[in-house]
Symmetry: C2
């Protein structure tokens, strides 16, 4: 398989569901996506061959959210705040070691 | 590597850029995302272990758009309309053969 365009392509579910159903948007996912994007940029990790942080529509694992998925590995995480995002960036995206304790 | 949660996770860039800059949203990406989602559902391909169609923010390949990326393979496509979407669904998502002529 040829090398990925992005070494790590990270998708944050930021879907907003109606009627009080559990959803990632109600659990701070937009702010965490912004935070991750800023951190990755500040660390110089963003760009082709490196890391891309993206928002996505409903990833359909709503009750387990807020969720992100990291491709091409297909590793799924649930995070609770900035500390978890920092861990995912530092351990997975920098060191290449998925964060076992945050996996779903 | 464990099996992917989705066998094929497809992301459509639907980003809207300002000031007339090239962007996927101006090239019909929202309608094509909707079309793909409907087709995949009609074919019974959607769901865990199968196919997920998602919208995404800017995938940052704007001049080559409208773009989609299929993970975990990391295959990128440029499409021009429903015929291309049908080909990607039928050849790649059903038969497992990436559509070489649409790759970018």
């Amino acid at each position: 398989m040829p090398q990925s365009y992005y070494r790590y392509h990270v998708f944050f579910c930021i879907n907003q569901r109606e009627g009080g159903k559990p959803c990632c948007a109600d659990k701070g996912s937009v702010a965490m996506r912004d935070y991750a994007k800023d951190r990755v940029k500040a660390l110089g990790l963003d760009g082709k061959g490196k890391v891309r942080i993206n928002q996505a529509g409903c990833l359909d694992r709503c009750t387990q959210g807020p969720t992100i998925v990291v491709y091409p590995e297909g590793v799924w995480y649930r995070y609770t705040g900035k500390e978890d995002i920092d861990a995912i960036i530092e351990e997975h995206l920098v060191q290449g070691q998925p964060v076992e304790r945050l996996k779903i």
